[in-house]
Each structure stands twice: as C-alpha cells, then as structure tokens.
C-alpha cells in the first residue's frame, strides 16, 4: 500500500504514487493496533463489512474518534466477501425507499472519490433484457420506475440494437433497455480503501473482537467484547448477517430477523471477457435481481447469483448441481461461453430480513443506530448509508472537527483494465501467473496496515491463487512467503504432528 498526503498528487499513473510517506514512521505515529488503556471513542462501529468500512471512513472524516469492532479475523468476512461487484444506480429500487436514496447518494459519492482513492471502475452500462413475453410486458413499468428514481437516461432498445452492442449474445433475446450508469467495481479493494482511509486518519480497527454485551449509562456505552472492553459515546450496528443478534445483545430489541439469502456464482476465465460488454441483467423479480452475466474488473466473467433463503448465517457452501445450472444459464445467454473455462465458484450470503427496505433506526435516547437489512445493494449504497447515519447522529455530541486535508492511502490497484504492478519495474517478479500478482504486491500487503490474517484475506487484497489454476502453480510459493503470517497457516508448522 502506498500512502499519499494529499489527494491532488493522486493521478492515474502508478509511478506518481511513489511520493510515499515513510510507512514505519507512519505506523508509529498512528499506532494502528493500539491496545492501550485509553479505549474511549466517540463511535464504536460493530462489523467491518463494506457498510462498516464506509461508516468508519465517513465518521472519521467528520471528525469522530472511531473504533471498528470485527468478530472475524479479517474485515469483509461476512456478506461483503462475495457479491456481484456492481455499482448500481438504483434504477430498480422501490421509489421513495431508503434503499433507493442511499444507493443514489452512495453512487454519486463513489464517482466523486474513486479517483482519489485509486479505485478502479468500469463504466460498462447495463442492459435489462427480456427473454419472454411476460418479461417484455414488465419493461415499461421498469423504465417508469427508473425515471421515478431519478435515473433518466434509460432507453428502450430493439433486438437489433442489442445484438449490435452484444454480438455474442444469444439471438433468443426479444428486447430490453439500457441503463448506462451501471458500473463494475472492485468489491474488496473498494471497502478496504474506505477503511484504510479511516485508519490513516485516526480510526482504530480491532479484529477477532466479538461484541458480547453492552450497557448505556445515559452518556456512554460500555461494550464487553471478546477482547478488551470498549467505551464509546455512540454505537452503530453494521453487523450485517449478525445485525439481529447484536441488537438483541445491546438494546434488547427485535427490530428484524436476518434470513440469510444465499447467492451462488460461477466465474469464467479471462478469455470469456471478450464475449461480454455490458452488464446483462434480467427482468428482476420481487426477491432478487435475478441471474446477472457481467465482466469483473479483474477481467473475468461472472454468472450469478441464485437466491436461496436459509437459516444458517455461516453456510456459504456451493452446490454442484446449482453451479452446473448457472453454467448452463450463462451459455443460454452467451452461447460461446460453452468453450470457455470456469475459473472458480463461490457463494455469498445477503443479510435479507422480513422487510423489503433497508431498516436504519436511530435510538437517540440510547446513542444507538441499527443499520439492518442491507441485503444485496450494500456495495453501491454503503457511502450513502454512511452519510445518512452521519447526519442522523450529527445533532448528537460528536467531538472534534471535520478533517480538512485527510490522508488518502491508496491500495494497489488490481483491475485488469488499469495499470498493474506487474507492468511496472522492480516488482520482484510474478508469483501468481494466472492473476499476474507480483512478489512486491504480496509483500506490501503482508507488511502493510490491516495485513490479512488468512489466505482468504490475502486473496481479496492481491488476487493471488484466485485465477484459473487455483493455486496449482503458486500455492507452494505463497505458503512459503506467508509463513508466520496466517492463522490457520497454509502449511502445518514443521514440528506439528
């Protein structure tokens, strides 16, 4: 990771990022993993998913002293670890809903800040396509909805124009409309960048820290955690899949019940990306946006998700038959995917609740905000949710002042469509050949702030072992490079029997 003191020095060229702050000095000054006795904060954020990360950034920049408490050994370990990596405009959100408002606001802020944070974006646009007469009949209402949501540049397209734009698309398509504003983003680096900016400007992160219980004395929260106890003026529950549990533990209220909705995905290898241009969306149903086919900023093609309600908050297993159906679905839409290789498959859990809309509740008398039901649009809405919550509690007693010139750390950019580290000199050589991950990138992440504690975390930060060979070539090298860093380690310790 590179640290820059000023946003203006950040341009699109990697070489410009060289104007680094001395990292060791920087860490000493900011003591990232502080474990001292002064555990008094303005705000304690429970959960470091994308919403928690964006929240930490917003409130830190607004001048609050923030601590983020994450139950897992790494950030983005729950719902945020797997999604479709799309920055939505919110064209199909329920008009007038809080979800729509947060998406619209989050979308706008993302476009304002992505360059400064060095984040990739692919402005591909989306096509909402009808494949049956029933779907065709719903298009008009969807366009009307988009207009109501302030997304005015949607436009009907005939079959001919659709096939002209997507020449590899199945000619079974009937017609559809375009949503030019839909974009592809990096789902992990985006959230990491939010949190890294919070950390670089004074916020604290405590991983492996589960909130057990809490007591509010009328002015301050005393949180009992699995690590040290924490005192904070405000508590914001961004616990995603565990949001209902955290509410029970802290405010003894049952605002909602999370019913995890599983979404399985298959990923096709990079050669497939030449077949797909826009984000191909189906006509959505009440519960899901349906199966999407799109590229990723990493240069792959994604097909998914499914929508399967379940009770378990941890079961993100895939099912062989479902994965085969997704592959078949992908081939239905782009027949040439038949000859493309599958790279990987995964499943994510969206924290759906019994409510259609987001459920953000502010308990002013208890200095508590519950951010719930951020089910499938969290990545798009997170910045908007953070601003919304910031305003909710702004009337309350936030200390400090807005940071005038915040530090902007810039994580390594992993997008296939932008300059990568392997294209720059002295990168130490390529370790992961499928994803072209360099030795320098891996070392930077292992040595940097918020270093990963698991292989999964390293994968999300560098893409190592995430390509077509899934570690056939580089896993042994990565095991060696990460010795002493991970728990559990990739390989057993030599004295372990």
């Amino acid at each position: 990771m590179r640290l820059c003191a000023d946003a203006k020095s950040m341009t699109s060229s990697l070489t410009d990022f060289k104007e680094n702050v001395d990292l060791d000095q920087y860490k000493a000054d900011h003591s990232f993993n502080r474990k001292s006795h002064e555990l008094d904060y303005d705000v304690a954020i429970v959960g470091a998913g994308v919403v928690g990360c964006a929240m930490a950034r917003r409130l830190t920049l607004d001048g609050a002293k923030v601590i983020v408490l994450e139950k897992a050994s790494d950030v983005l370990d729950g719902a945020s670890k797997s999604n479709s990596a799309i920055l939505h405009t919110g064209f199909d959100a329920p008009p007038g809903s809080l979800e729509q408002a947060c998406i619209a606001r989050g979308y706008e802020e993302f476009l304002d800040i992505f360059q400064g944070l060095g984040l990739p974006i692919l402005k591909t646009g989306a096509l909402v396509l009808a494949w049956s007469k029933q779907q065709q009949e719903k298009l008009e209402a969807l366009i009307e909805k988009a207009n109501k949501n302030g997304v005015h540049n949607v436009r009907m397209l005939g079959k001919k124009e659709i096939l002209k734009r997507e020449p590899h698309l199945s000619n079974q398509v009937l017609d559809g409309f375009e949503v030019p504003g839909e974009c592809l983003v990096d789902p992990w680096t985006t959230a990491h960048a939010y949190l890294l900016q919070a950390l670089a400007n004074g916020a604290q992160l405590q991983r492996k820290t589960e909130v057990i219980s809490g007591n509010f004395d009328g002015a301050t929260w005393q949180l009992e955690t699995s690590q040290t106890n924490v005192r904070a003026t405000h508590v914001i529950n961004c616990a995603g899949l565990y949001g209902d549990w955290v509410n029970h533990r802290l405010i003894k209220e049952s605002l909602f019940t999370v019913t995890p909705r599983k979404g399985q995905f298959v990923v096709f290898d990079k050669a497939a990306s030449s077949l797909v241009s826009s984000i191909i969306l189906p006509v959505p149903t009440k519960t899901t946006k349906g199966v999407v086919v799109c590229r990723t900023v990493f240069g792959n093609v994604l097909v998914g998700p499914t929508a399967e309600d379940q009770d378990s908050k941890t079961d993100s297993s895939t099912n062989a038959d479902t994965l085969k159906e997704l592959v078949a679905k992908g081939i239905d839409i782009f027949p040439e995917l038949k000859n493309c290789e599958v790279t990987s498959a995964y499943a994510g859990l969206r924290p759906a609740t019994e409510f259609q809309d987001y459920l953000i509740r502010h308990f002013q008398d208890r200095n508590y905000v519950s951010v719930g039901g951020i089910r499938s649009t969290g990545l798009s809405a997170s910045l908007g949710i953070a601003s919304y919550v910031s305003e909710l509690i702004a009337g309350d007693s936030l200390q400090g002042l807005t940071i005038e010139n915040p530090v902007i750390p810039v994580p390594d950019r992993l997008s296939e469509y932008h300059l990568r580290d392997w294209q720059t000199p002295d990168n130490g050589g390529i370790v992961c050949h499928c994803e072209l991950v360099t030795r320098r990138e891996i070392e930077n992440v292992l040595q940097g702030p918020m270093a990963p504690a698991t292989l999964q975390g390293l994968k999300r930060r560098t893409r190592v072992c995430m390509g077509r060979c899934q570690g056939f070539y580089c896993m042994a090298e990565v095991a060696k490079m990460t010795e002493g860093f991970f728990n559990p380690p990739i390989a057993l310790a030599n004295n372990e029997q």
């Binding site: 993100s316 297993s317 000859n339 290789e341 294209q423 002295d426 990168n427 390529i430 060696k480 990739i490």
Partner: protein
C-alpha cells in the same frame, strides 16, 4: 542452472515454456544448427512439472538412466544450456501477437521479443475444484496434486495430515507417495466413475497402502469453515457418506495451460483445449508452432520429450528450406460425443516432408466399436476400438494425405 543474460529484441525461435517438451525442442534445434534459440520460462527455474515429481521413472529413453523428476528436469536444462540455448527464467509471456511478436514481463520491467518462429509449450495443469464442480464450503486445505508436490518436494512443507484424494488417475496414485514422503496419510480415494480411471493393475497399491477406495461417488461436498473438516458424498449404494479429513487433494483431469493462447489470435480446439495445429505442429498463424502436453493432455514426460525433438526437426527444416507448394487442406470434424479431440485438427496438403505420421485420438467416455473417418462421401479409415478416456489412441495419417483437394473429414464411432 539457468543462463540469464540480457533479453534480446529478436531471435530465431522463442520457446514459451521451459518444461520437458520445450527444453527438448530447444536442445534439438541447436543440434540441427539453428542459432539464437531462446526459452522463456515464467518460474524461477526451468524444468517444468518434473521439477516437483520427486519420484521415478524419468529419463530411461532420453538418457538411458532411471531418474527422479527433479534430476530429470535438471538434466533437460543442462543439456539445453550446454548446446547454447539461452533460458530466461522469471520471464512471463503476457501476449502473443501475429507473426511471432511477444509481449513479456520480467522482474525488471516489460519487454518485447520478435521471433521468426514461436513454439508454445506451456504444458498442462490439473482441473481445479470448481472446474470439477465439487460443491460445499471453501475452507483452507483444498489443493491439486501439483500444488501438493511443489509444497512437499520444493518447499518441504505439509498442507495437511490426513487428506482425501479426489480422483483416481495415475497422478492420484502418485500423490500417495508424495504424501508419504512427509508422513502425510491419505484416508480415502474417491472417484465419480464406476472404477478407477488409471489402469486397473495399479489398484492393489491402495490396499497395500491402506487407502480405502470409493467409486461411483455422487454429489461430493466439502465441509469446513476455516479448515477442511470432512467430505460428504453419496456412495455407490446410495448412502450418504461422511469422511473426516483435514484436506482434499483434487487430482488429475489435466487440461492445457492455454490462457495465453485463448487470449490470442490463434485458433483453439474446444475439444482438446489446445491450439489447432496441422501435421507439422503449426498453428493457424504459421509463425507459431506448438508441442508437448498443450496439444492434448496429458502424456508422459518421455512422450513430450520425443514430441519436442520431432517438432524441432520440423521447425529446423522449415527455417532452412525454400517455400512449399500448398495444394489444399483437410479439416477434421468430430461428430461423435465419445470423441473429445483429434490432434492434429487439420492437415496441410503440400510437398513439405517430415510431418507427423500418426494422429492422436482422445475419448471423453469409454467407447467400444469402430472408429470411422469419412470424407467426400468415402470411408477413408475404419478400425476397431475398445478404449477409455485417458488412453493413448493412435491412427495413421498417411491415408488422409493421399487426397489432393480441400476436404472435410468426419470422425465417428459406430
């Protein structure tokens, strides 16, 4: 062991991939008098897969000696270097361009190389868990045999203690000895087919090593949050079986390492996963040749070595000889679901000598009957086959070369 010097801007032959076939080909090119032969290898050391195959038997035919994989790999490198081949390691080819121009990435930066001829010998890798549709969780401890071998033989580290081996090819059996090398004890071998994929004569090895075999396994599912805890499947009698384990070795189902090729202008054969070549090993851009396991996975090292040598002779001959009269071409087409591929996929009809004399046929399911080739309404070839996937089936090529005009020849099994 590698003689990195400054990477040139141009060369006569650039070989992409310094494994068995690439090194054998490079050495033979030198023997044939071709100068300026360059091998581009992305790993730290050339040698390819045998580098981490810490077992016998390698090298009998090539060197008249019984060698272990790493010694064989070293021997292949030394031979090539002694003959004047320049090997550039940690050098990744990132794009193939028309007429033999390559984009490269080296630790010191990007580079370009213009070669008269390029040889693609990027070899094979095993299919991943996702490519085999193994469902379940995604914990730590699921690796291919190749990754296991690299860990055990190159790094001396163990990923697990009691893994389950998924697959029953020869490489699956060899993973048992890799495991034993560092005291890892496989607890089961599971196979989706009704019998082991490898030749039945190796099956007693499982009894000898105390590894139970489960065939006709359906709906395999990996269980474990942080680390692998178990594998669950429906067994041959339809019962749900759960085996406690701390790792899964996903073994076999070799597939060409063809990403570069797939991103390039060259035509890919969806059946083999490798490039479309003619009987000289030439791709659809004549500046490109291909050899070794990239053509049709996966053969033995010895086979790849011999193919490398033969392809080198063809390239040397082409570089030194005048142009040929091309009278036409034959395209092969597969019309039977049991046939995965035929290599070469096309024939160039010309007066050029020295092409392959046999073609390789690969099956994707067991087949019994007559393999037929029909072109222009005529039966060109018919022979009895009784074979399975992963077995080498060879057919003579000369019967097709007698034709003088462009033709489409269809292959089927009756």
């Amino acid at each position: 062991m590698n003689n990195n010097t400054v990477l040139p801007d141009s060369c006569s032959v650039a070989i992409v991939g310094g494994g068995t076939s690439g090194l054998a080909l490079a050495a033979e090119l030198r023997r044939q008098g071709v100068d300026n032969v360059v091998v581009l290898e992305r790993e730290k050391d050339a040698g390819g897969i045998p580098r981490h195959c810490g077992h016998y038997p390698f090298g009998i035919l090539e060197y008249g000696k019984l060698l272990k994989g790493p010694d064989y790999a070293r021997k292949n490198v030394e031979t090539a270097v002694k003959l004047g081949v320049r090997i550039f390691t940690e050098t990744s080819v990132t794009a193939l361009h028309p007429n033999g121009k390559l984009s490269l990435s080296t630790p010191s930066g990007l580079a370009q190389l213009q070669a008269k001829r390029v040889v693609l010998s990027t070899g094979v890798r095993e299919s991943s868990r996702a490519q085999r549709f193994i469902g379940g969780d995604r914990p730590l401890g699921i690796i291919t045999t190749g990754a296991l071998q690299s860990m055990v033989y190159l790094q001396g580290i163990r990923p697990f203690r009691q893994p389950v081996i998924f697959g029953s090819e020869l490489v699956s059996f060899s993973s048992i000895s890799t495991c034993r090398h560092l005291g890892i004890n496989p607890v089961a071998m599971v196979e989706e087919n009704d019998r082991i994929v490898a030749n039945l004569i190796v099956q007693p090895y499982l009894t000898l090593k105390g590894v139970p075999l489960f065939t006709r396994v359906k709906s395999p599912k990996i269980i474990g949050q942080e680390k692998v805890e178990a594998i669950e499947f429906t067994d041959a009698s339809g019962h749900l079986k759960n085996i406690e384990t701390d790792g899964i070795i996903v073994s076999g189902r070799f597939r060409p390492e063809s990403a570069l090729l797939r991103m390039s202008h060259l035509e890919v054969d969806p059946g083999s996963g490798g490039p479309v070549i003619d009987q000289f090993g030439q791709c659809t851009d004549p500046a490109y040749y291909s050899t070794g396991n990239l053509l049709g996975p996966a053969e033995t090292s010895s086979w790849c070595w011999q193919e490398g040598v033969k392809t080198a002779k063809r390239i040397a001959q082409e570089l030194s000889a005048p142009e040929y009269d091309i009278s036409g071409s034959i395209q092969f087409k597969i019309t039977d679901q049991a046939i995965a591929y035929v290599v070469p996929q096309r024939l160039t009809l010309s007066d050029r000598p020295g092409g392959m004399t046999q073609m390789l046929v690969g099956l994707c399911k067991p087949a019994k009957g007559f393999l037929e080739a029909v072109g222009g309404g005529q039966k060109i070839w018919k022979s009895r086959i009784n074979s399975r996937p992963m077995r080498r089936i060879l057919m003579p090529l000369d019967v097709f070369l007698k034709t003088e005009t462009d033709q489409l020849v269809e292959f089927s099994i009756s």
